[in-house]
Symmetry: C2
Subunit: 230 residues, 2 copies
């Protein structure tokens, strides 16, 4: 009986053995000039927690990490540092064919300045208009290239109409699961050590309590499809 | 003789006793919506080094610190956390009358988005124009209010025509000294533990070697006017 418990525990912990996860995390920074950039409040904590939890459960992880002061040296995790949405897009598309599963946790800038000034922009009197152009859509491009044996999880950060928007995103981009979180919930999302999520697929919405990001990571990983028995 | 050396050493170390320094440090973040912001590459290291060096030399320091993961708990330093240029401006103007000296090390955003969207801006097809408006000028406003017994140091980060632009800034804003650094020098300015500066006043330009930011801080503090003998 004790052996069964130990075995169950061990199996749970190593249930991702043989899997190779592609995880994106952190913000992206879109430069205006050598000094200024357009950024967002992501710190990478949730994605790093996902990478560490997945590695602890036996997976090999490629962690594509935007600019943040946080990182990880967990065994089994390869950190690929990037700065911009385009760098993250290129890196993710390169590695997606080798992955069994993808979890797109990064807060990727939808827009970037039309051009990057080579010198620091001098201030002038009065206002100025900054033209922003669309960045490539990593989730949509990975969803388009997804093989039937691959599983793809996206994140949605919504301040209003969360579930409706998340389900639209799921279908439009060919994702298997969406993690919805809101910066309006105290203690959740950017910068916090805790998060409160809803997991949304085509059939159902599962709502979780506020908990440590490492535990949230395990809730998400529990939804990856089980290893096929050989 | 030994006593003289010790006394000289002690005096050097406590040469800022009785002074109250106002130091600004770090970047500012100018929000577009609850998630996105316009930022810059400053980490606050140089300003924190200045605050710690000044406190070690006997000064009381008000450190107005923009959003960064770094901080200080050095005795004698009061940290006032702010996020935006307007918050930093308000905080600096409030405290300036009590200060004997000001060192404006923060990389303050010259511009902010015209309005902050209350909800996360949804992406749409195509480009969009972001209208940016001027932020208040902290250096100019402190320079305008400067009493004859106050000493005001500004920072300039220039990628081209550094000395010429710095001297223009010195005169236009009523500063006593400008610290010029460049993100183009390897190992200098944002994010590095070292910096290479030039100190510029009305009469001369002094160029220093690349060195630790704490040593750079002492070079800058050495230029504050000596305490008047009572």
């Amino acid at each position: 009986a004790i052996l069964d418990v130990l075995r169950a525990h061990f199996n749970r912990r190593q249930d991702l053995a043989g899997r190779r996860l592609l995880i994106t995390a952190g913000p992206t920074h879109e430069d205006l000039d050598p000094v200024r950039y357009l950024g967002n409040r992501s710190t990478g904590k949730m994605g790093i927690a996902l990478a560490e939890a997945a590695a602890a459960r036996g997976a090999t992880v490629d962690l594509i990490l935007g600019p943040t002061h946080l990182s990880t040296s967990a065994p089994g995790v390869t950190v690929i540092p990037v700065r911009t949405a385009r760098e993250m897009h290129e890196s993710a598309l390169d590695r997606w064919p080798m992955a069994t599963d993808g979890i797109l946790c990064a807060a990727v800038a939808d827009y970037r300045p039309e051009s990057v000034a080579p010198e620091k922009i001098k201030k002038t009197e009065g206002d100025f208009a900054l033209t922003l152009i669309r960045n490539p859509d990593i989730a949509a491009d990975l969803g388009r290239d997804k093989r039937p044996d691959q599983f793809l999880v996206g994140f949605a950060l919504e301040t209003e109409n969360g579930i409706e928007n998340a389900r639209g995103k799921l279908e439009r981009k060919g994702l298997d699961l969406i993690v919805l979180n809101s910066p309006r919930v105290p203690g959740a999302a950017f910068g916090h050590d805790t998060n409160q999520i809803q997991l949304i697929d085509r059939n159902k919405v599962t709502s979780f309590e506020l908990k440590a990001k490492r535990e949230v990571a395990d809730d998400i990983l529990d939804r990856l499809p089980p290893n096929r028995t050989p």
